[in-house]
Amino acid sequence: MMRRIFLLSLLSLFPSILFSQESGLFTPEKRKAFADNLFCEKDYLRASEEYEAINSVVKNDSLSYYIGLCLLKMNDYEKAKDHFFLLRNSSLGEESRLLFLKTSFLLNKNVAGEADSFQNQFVNKDLKTSFRRLELAAQIKAGMIQTNLFSPTNDFEENDAQILKRFAENFSHPQRKSPFAAALFSAMVPGAGKIYTKNYGDGITSFIVTGLFAFLSYDNFRAHHNARGWIFAGTAAFFNAGNIYGSYISARNYNLEKEEELNNEFDSFLNSKNYFVPKEIEGSCK
């Protein structure tokens, strides 16, 4: 019995040796297939490592392009931008140029200059359209397009054109509050500058606090309590000076907030449209 079991287990070893793992597991083709799989699984870090490893053995534009895509997907825009810039004249030049502009846009860089240098370097009709859309978006963000000059071309759908027109209007004529006007208003009427910058609560508080101390000062001077009168006058002046300064800063902060708000709104719109870049050029997965 024991002999039989021994024989059987010995025999069972043979097929596993016969069908053992074949050599050549790390051939560039297999690694590429593995890297593509990782890319489609959205494991961009490991995918880029695999592409890098193959690229060090077999230099290939497509591999470099995919490394750039991984960096882009991992939000490492600086490195992705450099990567696509190096590929601008390669076999994937058109796609790389477009993605270079996209990464520049994501980095909030001035795309206008870079767009000019790529102006006539697109042959593919779709990519050319995407480029024009992205270029226009960049001009809108830079506030370079006046609404009256804005004419939505055939590049945009009617709905998108309307949205872009509204953005162009907001970027070229941003809702701004003058810090000097705010300070001046507060100097005239305590708290008026803050109300001007829509800081209603702080404005009313400033008015009450300064007004209260000013009244106390007046009342004490009237009752010939000069020392107390001066103390309250000083306190009122102290609060009003702070209020004038605060109104100036409040207007500046208001402008910064509005600017940031508009930029975020515009970016999320462009993000929803994938920055007008066709999805296929960002790696196609089944």
Partner: protein, 139 residues
Amino acid sequence: MKFFLLSLFFSYFLFAQTDWQRWQKTEINYTEKVDNSGRSYSLRADDPFEFLLKASAVTYWFFISDVDGDNCPFDPSCSSFFLESVKASNIVEGTLMFADRFTRDFNVFNRNDYRVTRKGRLADPPEKYLLSTARSKDK
């Protein structure tokens, strides 16, 4: 099997409630713990003016603020805000920033305009109000 049951029996006794850790009445302390970890009571300063400023702030903390309790809703507190703003700018700008902060402290309806820190206070750093700063994120 016997051995296993025996060891189980003894381990049960090992973790049984002990006599020396009985439930008992404890003194309850209702004093609110004041967290002053952000304050530096050191009087070390680079110049006599800074020393004077710090000395007055520390005196205020020691005799008034610490005794009065944790009342300022902001982070940093108004006194710390004053010290930090003078350090970040100059005495004139710092004083103006402090006067503005003091007025905003009076307004109890603006509490939702500020980000709340981990300590549960309203984030209001002096950097937001400096003339040289060009960013405002917290408010």
